[in-house]
Point group: C2
Chain length 686, copies 2
């Protein structure tokens, strides 16, 4: 056999030995303009939703909540108007256009377009606004001339922005293709334009300057839109023209809007609503009917795939219309175990620590400065830079509830630890609290309990009532179909897996008992830490995150979107403990017992996470907890003869007896007394 | 509730938003010196094996095979002597010290030490050798003065290397801590040293210059070693001193060695072997007994953890000794599904394409220039730079067998395709070929069949006999314990998974039938390609590798060591097809029918891989193949009335009838005739 070799023809660049970096399983970002074109190519229908910035911070919080509900229906994008009088580009102001658009994109997590008007603005103003939008991840701009602030007249400005066309040109010149640019079309002609034809020419100029698509001003008759599109096509405007639809929702709002846009209300509409002008519900029903009828005509014209809704910041009418025309599609299939965000910077993001599972906005906020997101797996997190939570953003991250509501849920007065336990227990069981209110949220959860929690609800309720205050958990899952309605996620045809997870606050006494029993469960990973971080125990390698949710899909590598990471846990620990005092404790007067109780938990309790690695077997974590309770009872019985108290207790390795050391809280504080009472209660309850 | 926020104390560097790159689950490289120290600290025993470079290429191939067998026993490292007369630093020469050490490290995949002597060498020579060793990944050097080439006298060279100490200093000065440096100790004193004490001082100088540990020259009595160690410690030599043990394996070899090292053979040994001097086996048995006795005394001294064996390139005696003293530990637990290599550059390597599963040396060779290895997952392989296989390295990559042996296995004459099919079938079943020889290898497999293949052996044999020539396969595995003796790998306590995989060559006719049946199996991924690459069909996204082996372990992210990657498959395709002609076809005369037959397969057959994504269910791939056979039979029956022939057949989508197009091989070639015969045979056999 000859020793002559052969060469492989496929070697591309043998001299460059490096493999390409940054591989990705994530979805590459596709520009909105391209997605609209793709929808048109495939003949698929879609819709978008327009909102305006609210005037008050509470209004902003309410609007964000509304966004959360409305993205469930699957809009192509959210659209935020520019409110020139509201300091619109100031991202430090909660109610600015920029802030609302940022929240919609990054925290609600949906593709977002931001209006921007250039009237009476300098180039520097506009550049600054566009730079800020880019920095926040916004990639879609609706370029408008805008109206002068009331009282001013529109004036031609030399070397400034006189028309939207100037702004489109400016965006393309300064930002290239970064932004998808939309412009407004006026089926009735722009009110300031001398003629309809002249306005069409202006529109053509805007498109020729680089606009990707057009959204029309509102109109009341389908034929108006059809004529407009035909007129546009006739003069060579070939980009998509999306009809803007405004559901009539009230007599006065309609009148105002029509006045502003200098439109005439068709007689038949006027005649229909005049008789019901004082009946809001009747008008809304009429509006839904009118819009649905018009939309059907639009679809029948064959010219329309997408619809843009002027929601006027309301949801009922728009959702009714969308449901009636079959475009409201609540997709029960989760695309990912956690809510992805639409920011193009994060389209490769594939892994998150489980700790923020119930506080995704906080996670998004704290990682917004990352250059790269974990992709494929978490890997080493030796020094992940988690940003700090500052005042302003807390506004969006806080539960959207008033102090009174929170007190109703969490207790106007806390007399003992059992009161705290009851809040957690009621949250899980859905039972009403003493004062007859349901506990719909706790400080550690932005949203309702995950559906899958129902698998372990009874067990969770039981351990919470005994002082294991759970803030996060998931059951184990072994090769469930990816289409499973409760635990499934991702594309069909795959299999999903979970390791059982439990995260809770509990007292020092319980933790000491836990240490006694953990050696019996070698396949359980634990991480136990106090607020100060001085007590920090784990059997995980500091470098090794644990995958706790993963999926196996046809034609793909393993996807592992959720991990328990010992390093990130320390950052989460700060946040989790601080929520006790900042969200809950602050509800009470400074020297109140309630507040002292919360402070006591913050100062002396531990945050614990447990992972059961034996995912194909029954979840062992509740057995561990029961074992811990039994051990704690035993120790309590043994310690009866000694000085009572839980503070400053040290663990004696020799005989398992707890010996009291110097307390770090003054003797006989309220908190200590409360703790003793609870212990007595618990012992009694057994 | 106050809107004042809080800050997380844990944020380390909020201004630096980047996460750390290059996370790893792999084992970080630990220097040999540190590993030896760790063994001593833990009181664990170990051994190392010394070999010398052979004189001929065939000898080198045999030695590499011997390495493969001997690393099974778990040596701490392999040690290759420096052969000054054999162009030792020339890595382009198959038998050089450098090449053998490189093969041991990179292709056998085991930690390796290379001797290097400086006698009569310039600094440039030594620097070049060390640079080359570093380039190849060698990190351990045994620094020697060395002996002048026979006939020369040792001479002091001004500003040159006169003693091993000079070389140790040079290595430390030029390469810092990169190399673990070992030096030789002489329990009987160096032959050129005036006194034993003076030699001890030289050894102290070597250690003070930076040597990490000492291996002793051979000795015959444990007390000699014990005294030597005591003497070393007395003068402040504190590094580990590893006893060098030479099993007596033959009368003449012993005499030669003793003469070279100027040692005296103790009387009791001389008296024992003189009577059996012509009985090699008796001498070897004596040598084993003598060594085991001495080693036990060494262990009893309490001074010894590790043993260094002068194997003299033989394996029987050393293995017997190691087994008797309980150090030969064949670890049945696979640490990884594929054989890792010891090169420190690759210690983070965690993923490989399955294609090279049976040709790991080729994979290591072709990827040796990579700067980074896939870690955690394969990711995008848009342009992986697979190096070419050149003449020289084929030497190590080729099956270590003579032409006659290969012809005995693969057939001295191939008369029809069935002969080829029989080779594959016999390889799988272990049956003897026509001429009574077992087929122990095929060109695509370096090693014996994997144990797990036995799960599907019957099915493999059946489809190979019918012209589906399998070169790689694995069964599906659903959550087997990681300690499973057949499919397990990794640390205990984990669960391992596999997707069923099948890779084979088959004829165009079969591939056409396969395309007919594949739509019935949507959860099967396929990739089908011809040598030229002009026909290339897959239902995998080009960017998406498929994980086919993965493991879930306590406290870790998911480990996915094997993937099917569409891009790498094209590189493998070149290699796989070329093996037909270069390894098999070249065995036959240039114009022989046998050679033409192999060439025909190379030119017209397809390479196919199939992945069954439904790993929790029964392996569907053999059902797919049977379905393909049935479809092919149907088409063959339909096509009977038409012109026979398989070349240039085109697929008619309308009615599924195959129509003959223009053939790319002349009509009525031998190959075509053979193909027809096989078809007839196969049809007949049904």
């Amino acid at each position: 056999m000859s020793s002559s070799g052969y060469t492989s023809s496929g070697a591309s660049t043998p001299s460059n030995g490096s493999r390409p970096s940054s591989p990705t399983l994530g979805t590459p970002y596709v520009k909105l303009a391209d997605r609209i074109e793709a929808k048109i190519d495939r003949g698929e229908r879609w819709f978008s939703l327009e909102f305006f910035p609210p005037r008050t911070p509470q209004g902003a919080a309410n609007l964000i909540s509304r966004f959360e509900r409305m993205v469930q229906g699957g809009p192509m994008f959210m659209d935020i108007t520019w409110h020139p009088a509201g300091d619109p580009g100031n991202s430090d102001k909660e109610t600015s256009s920029m802030s609302i658009a940022c929240a919609a994109l990054n925290y609600v997590g949906h593709e977002t377009m931001l209006h921007m008007s250039c009237c009476n603005s300098t180039k520097d103003d506009i550049r600054r606004h566009l730079d800020k939008a880019k920095e926040l991840g916004i990639r879609n701009i609706l370029a408008l001339r805008g109206d002068p602030i009331v009282g001013d007249e529109w004036k031609y400005v030399e070397d400034g922005f006189n028309y939207a066309t100037d702004m489109v040109k400016f965006i393309r010149a300064e930002f290239g293709d970064y932004f998808t640019v939309c412009v407004a079309g006026y089926p009735h002609g722009h009110p300031d334009s001398p003629t309809y034809e002249e306005d069409l020419q202006h529109l053509k100029e805007k498109v020729d300057a680089g606009a990707d698509f057009i959204i029309t001003q509102l109109f009341f008759k389908a034929e108006r839109y059809v004529k407009f599109v035909e007129d546009c096509r006739r003069i060579g405007i070939n980009v998509p023209i999306i009809p803007g639809v405004m559901p009539i929702q009230g007599y006065h709002s309609l009148r105002n809007l029509v006045k502003l846009s200098k439109l005439e209300i068709p007689d038949e509409i006027r005649e229909a609503i005049e008789p019901i002008r004082d009946n809001d519900e009747a008008i809304r029903n009429y509006g839904v009917h009118q819009a649905v009828t018009m939309i059907r005509e639009l679809f029948d014209s064959g010219l329309v795939n997408g619809l843009h809704f002027y929601t006027l910041n309301r949801e009922v009418a728009t959702i009714q219309i969308l449901k009636q025309i079959g475009l409201w599609t609540e997709d029960i299939q989760r695309p990912w175990p956690w809510k992805r965000t639409a920011n193009y910077n994060r389209c490769e993001e594939e892994v998150r620590p489980i700790f923020w599972a119930s506080r995704p906005k906080s996670y998004v906020y704290r990682t917004q400065e990352w250059d790269e997101f974990p992709n494929g797996r978490w890997g080493s997190s030796e020094s992940p830079a988690f940003g700090e939570l500052n005042d302003y953003y807390l506004f969006y991250l806080k539960p959207n509830a008033k102090k009174e509501e929170l007190l109703d849920m969490w207790g106007h007065e806390l007399t003992c630890l059992q009161d705290v336990c009851d809040v957690f227990t009621n949250y899980i069981t859905g039972k009403e609290s003493k004062n007859g209110k349901k506990v719909r949220k706790i400080p550690w959860n932005d949203d309702d309990l995950a559906a899958e929690t129902s698998f372990i609800n009874d067990k969770l309720a039981r351990i919470n009532s005994r002082g294991v205050l759970t803030i996060n958990s998931q059951p184990n899952v072994n090769a469930a179909p990816s289409t499973d309605p409760v635990v499934g996620w991702g594309t069909p045809g795959g299999y999903v897996f979970q390791k059982a997870y439990l995260e809770f606050f509990t007292s020092r006494e319980n933790v000491q008992a836990l240490f006694k029993v953990l050696p019996k469960y070698p396949n359980v990973n634990y991480h136990i830490i106090k607020f100060e971080g001085d007590d920090d125990y784990t059997n995980c390698d500091q470098q090794q995150p644990i995958a706790v949710t993963w999926g196996v899909f046809p034609g793909k590598e393993i996807i592992q979107p959720t991990v328990v990471d010992p390093v990130s846990f320390k950052f989460w620990k700060d946040e989790a403990f601080t929520l006790w005092t900042e969200y809950w404790g602050q509800l009470y007067a400074e020297d109140s017992k309630s507040r002292e109780l919360i402070q006591h938990i913050h100062d002396t309790w531990y945050l614990v996470n447990l992972v059961d690695n034996d995912f194909p077997r029954d979840n062992i974590l509740f057995t561990v907890i029961e074992d811990m309770f039994a051990e704690a009872d035993l120790q309590r019985a043994k310690g009866k003869g000694q000085t009572n108290g839980v503070n400053g207790v040290h663990h004696d390795d020799d005989d398992g007896v707890f010996v009291n050391g110097a307390g770090d809280v003054p003797k006989n504080t309220c908190a200590e007394q409360i703790q003793r009472n609870v212990e007595a209660d618990i012992v009694h309850a057994l």
